[in-house]
Symmetry: D2
Subunit: 372 residues, 4 copies
Amino acid sequence: MSSTTGLSNEFPVPERMKAWVLGGPEELHLVDKPVPAPGPAEVLVRVDAVAICATDLEILKHGVPALVDGELPFNKNFTIGHEYMGTVVRLGPAVDEFQPGDRVTVEVHAGCGRCERCREGMYTSCLNYGNRAKGHRANGFTTDGGFAEYAVNNINTLVHVPDDMSDAEATLVVTAGTSMYGLDVLGGLVAGDGVVVTGPGPIGLLGVAVAKALGADPVILTGTRESRLELGRRLGADHTVNAREEDAVAAVRRLTGGRGVRFVIECSGAPNALNEAAQMVNRGGRICLAAFPEERVPVDVAHIVRNNIYVYGIRGEGKSATHRAMALMKQKRFDAKLVHTHTFPLDDLPTGLRYARERIDNAIKVVVTAQR
Amino acid sequence: MSSTTGLSNEFPVPERMKAWVLGGPEELHLVDKPVPAPGPAEVLVRVDAVAICATDLEILKHGVPALVDGELPFNKNFTIGHEYMGTVVRLGPAVDEFQPGDRVTVEVHAGCGRCERCREGMYTSCLNYGNRAKGHRANGFTTDGGFAEYAVNNINTLVHVPDDMSDAEATLVVTAGTSMYGLDVLGGLVAGDGVVVTGPGPIGLLGVAVAKALGADPVILTGTRESRLELGRRLGADHTVNAREEDAVAAVRRLTGGRGVRFVIECSGAPNALNEAAQMVNRGGRICLAAFPEERVPVDVAHIVRNNIYVYGIRGEGKSATHRAMALMKQKRFDAKLVHTHTFPLDDLPTGLRYARERIDNAIKVVVTAQR
Amino acid sequence: MSSTTGLSNEFPVPERMKAWVLGGPEELHLVDKPVPAPGPAEVLVRVDAVAICATDLEILKHGVPALVDGELPFNKNFTIGHEYMGTVVRLGPAVDEFQPGDRVTVEVHAGCGRCERCREGMYTSCLNYGNRAKGHRANGFTTDGGFAEYAVNNINTLVHVPDDMSDAEATLVVTAGTSMYGLDVLGGLVAGDGVVVTGPGPIGLLGVAVAKALGADPVILTGTRESRLELGRRLGADHTVNAREEDAVAAVRRLTGGRGVRFVIECSGAPNALNEAAQMVNRGGRICLAAFPEERVPVDVAHIVRNNIYVYGIRGEGKSATHRAMALMKQKRFDAKLVHTHTFPLDDLPTGLRYARERIDNAIKVVVTAQR
Amino acid sequence: MSSTTGLSNEFPVPERMKAWVLGGPEELHLVDKPVPAPGPAEVLVRVDAVAICATDLEILKHGVPALVDGELPFNKNFTIGHEYMGTVVRLGPAVDEFQPGDRVTVEVHAGCGRCERCREGMYTSCLNYGNRAKGHRANGFTTDGGFAEYAVNNINTLVHVPDDMSDAEATLVVTAGTSMYGLDVLGGLVAGDGVVVTGPGPIGLLGVAVAKALGADPVILTGTRESRLELGRRLGADHTVNAREEDAVAAVRRLTGGRGVRFVIECSGAPNALNEAAQMVNRGGRICLAAFPEERVPVDVAHIVRNNIYVYGIRGEGKSATHRAMALMKQKRFDAKLVHTHTFPLDDLPTGLRYARERIDNAIKVVVTAQR
């Protein structure tokens, strides 16, 4: 039994736990290790469910967080997994924002709180990224994540889960939060404005849902797989464009009476996506890049400048956007569960990863759950 | 004598005037044509001085405004020139914001006032760009400009010139206004923050001056010509980097203790400028693109996304930035005259254009003045 | 038959029309007068329905627009009414944004487009307020309004009405737009944040609806009449507080676990409303004042300063908020019709005004409709 | 010798120090007490100079921080003083942002970093105000301040002092930072806009200086003492108004051609100051309240609403404004030293407080310095 503060008989915590850790590239090992203890402003979370993100697959392949510019070495013995939810079981010193037994879901980033960016609230751009000694944490990127029985979390990364929301749905909040953050950086006021979402992955699909929930009109989703586009329509897309059948830019122009839209959220990472987005928006339009191609790609910078276009790169889910996303989900404004397609037990994480990587059986979000 | 409203004996206006008009590519003709009459919200300006902008050279070459995406045909008989100043000589109906005799300098854009963008104050992104019937005007781009004895101006494009500012200096306000607008879109609060200006053309040099006037620290200018960099230092650059001698990104990192800067204003249009700017800023950094390469260029979009970088394309000088630029110039916060190198009479405009195009005698800003 | 441009056989327009005009205080006369002609950027609207606003009653009583600081004389022969909708029947020159036959509803303000405020998009704060020669128009305040068969409108004041929205519902868009604007000035991002609306008049009730539609949580409505509070609950209030039964500040604290809320929209005009609002918000909270007491009232300025509270006075519905409100109403996010209680024919306007003034039969929004 | 981390032979730190502590109201005692040790994200500062703020006098009188709503008891044995500067002598764990020997000046607030406000960068509105266990600190308000030989500081409250700035001048940075923050909340872009500062206390006088440094035009200072107004002119006021000789509102209207100004920073705390400010601004104008009357005062709320006026209460110097203020002072944009009138040794603090309280010899800023 742990001697951590916040001890509660109701939530006995063992001294050791099972956790998946990185070996070499594409290697994961299930090991037995000590349950960590929460420090100031932290809690210990018993992980109940974790969704698999494409970034997990990247880390597993390259060993370094795909969102960091090659700063970190391949991280052996590290536990990835950042889209998890669970139950608070231990409190660090001076924590009263959460109580043992609270169901919570997590966002990725806790900033250092002391750099220029954190001081202005831009904690996902923390200038001490990866510096744990100074307080930065990125769950599953720079600090152990959720493919384990227990995980320590800074309270800034936690959102309360309502009783009537399932574990699996709660794991999707961080994805919806990323979509919400994308709209935030575009200005936030989207009611009555056109929004194109390019790329029907989980962030794109929930981007459709959030944009529609906030009143965007029309919401247009572009993609290449009809099943995903169909899902987009169920989540609120007014129109979908299959880029295999029609030029996406031409389609957006057609659907908007030639005017184009004000906002694009780029979620495909396709090589020409930024150029196409710049053709979809009208003068003064804004583009949020939530995905990217790995290689340098040819960009029509002149078009961006001549048309006063603003382009916002985002990593993850800043400005407490997960809280706003949760508020919409709690109010049943859209059914995020539609993107959850498969569930596996934690012991069978490799199978889950394979389904996600190979999109077996049209997998979108694969969720791994604890067995108790 | 014109019968326009606002008639004044003090400012007799002839019925006809001399004006340079476009012929074919690289052809300019000095013609005799009627003096135009100002309509509602307009005044007639007697042009006293005009600075030559690189964009003038582009229009002269291609016949279409370089800032517009090929929407307008080659505009024969059109008068270009948009960096002009002069004296108000006639008022349109209901104009009392200016009086005959007022010295004024101009900015380029008057929006339609009725599209989405104009309604939110983004008049340089007017969705009715080029539509004169709906009220849009872009001096020297879509409506006759300043290489003439007289020009009609919407009052929104005018800024009062103080008595102690020379005609030549007043022509530089729109350039400084563009630089100011670049800082505006970056957030405006630059005191104590690092600003890199890439490209020591007129906008870049005055960008240095404006950034320093607002307290940016350090201000770093990159370029390839030592004479321009020297000018940058005189205008307020704390450091200059000659990119022929040192890698500009490495220099910025060195000069900032490895931290990089928060803001870059890109004024070079170099093919790799955006990538370099993205390496100069730190996480959450912001880049304003005030110049661009004509061709598509390879861009490291992944770096922009991974580092939460925002990129703002701007065309010209929105949000009344010329007024703020004039306020600083009026208060002698910097000496914009340093970028003015040559003066020619209006009749000799072709010589002035040649000096500007070929940078004869290290020409930076060439100003053409009326003879009276 | 008018000879205005945009002539169409489908929409014959008579030369004269019936219109209600102000006499002395509390005097209205139904007169016969010429149908006005639209100018540039204007259309002629055949009025189909008008809602009565409390401000109409103020103007009728005092002769001057209640929203203007005593600048205008009592306006005899003036037609009030600003919450109207109708059908476009004539187009001014160069108008193609609307076509004859289009159903439209109106917002109040068209700015001059040339003052400092309009240039930055703050057209409801136009510095040329009331100056028609310079282009300012405030429907029913400084230019003839909607209690007539026809009204001229600047196109900036028009919003398209979808086919499936009734005339009466469409008159409520400007009210919802005012509520939406209130949320805009508070920052716009309200999902998951607490919003208190004080005062269940039409703006307050639709403020509840808009806040809830955008995901605010909780939405708390305070008032004194149970029937209005019940309506608030139907429009989305999570909690209502009857200030006759419970101290409103204490109730808000109780309902929010002692934390208070981030945002208050004050719609009551009660003498102590600002002080109470300042007690309802937490540190750094924001208050929008959409109503006001006529007399000076004691205010605890110290509390506002000590707690970093921001207070935003708003008049009407700026920043195109009516378009955003319409987008939500078109998408059936709330049922604005719930606040529409009574309908009278235009000829019987005095009865409608009496119902509105005396709240006969619990009148909330009284709508007057054209008879054809 | 302390055993704190960051030990350095160059900066020997004794185990005990002299410190002034509160007794009862208006009682201060000089006591001997242990030198505190810095924790994570903290440093120990040897205090070299402290300026006396009017708030110090308030706390001394009432025992509770004047900026807090009566939440804290009279704080016996507490050391006040929040406008201090000194030398870093010890580093807490993981601190590398400062080194022993660094000269630093301080701002007041370190937020908890975990509440809603801190997460969005509004750390002066921390919802855990006064909760040290959760990390909030307000130097000299809720944690021991600078009227002592040593003080612990969170690194977020520190600004580097350049070599050529005197100790006394450095104590003024937090005051200039408050003025800067006032301009920030008003929008920050003041070049060419009119700014009125009401009340020529230290914040008002430096408000004049900062506004002028950023290009505001005109800057108008109102007050009642000619000597203070004269100082305002030396710090950059274009005009001063002696409210004993002329109605301040009328004067502002006269000086601005009847137009009024866009911005007012209220620094007087006079009972009618908010009403006068609301008359000085034009429609859509903005008022920052940096001072306040203790009692409730009659306010013309109707005027604020009818004119779309925004009112921002501020406590202190948020959003890293001290860094921006320091940047301007380091660049010699204004001479803050003009407000420093008297100097006393730390042992003679009571005399310094008396000079400040009674404005003996026209005292403005009284600075207390360490003797070594």
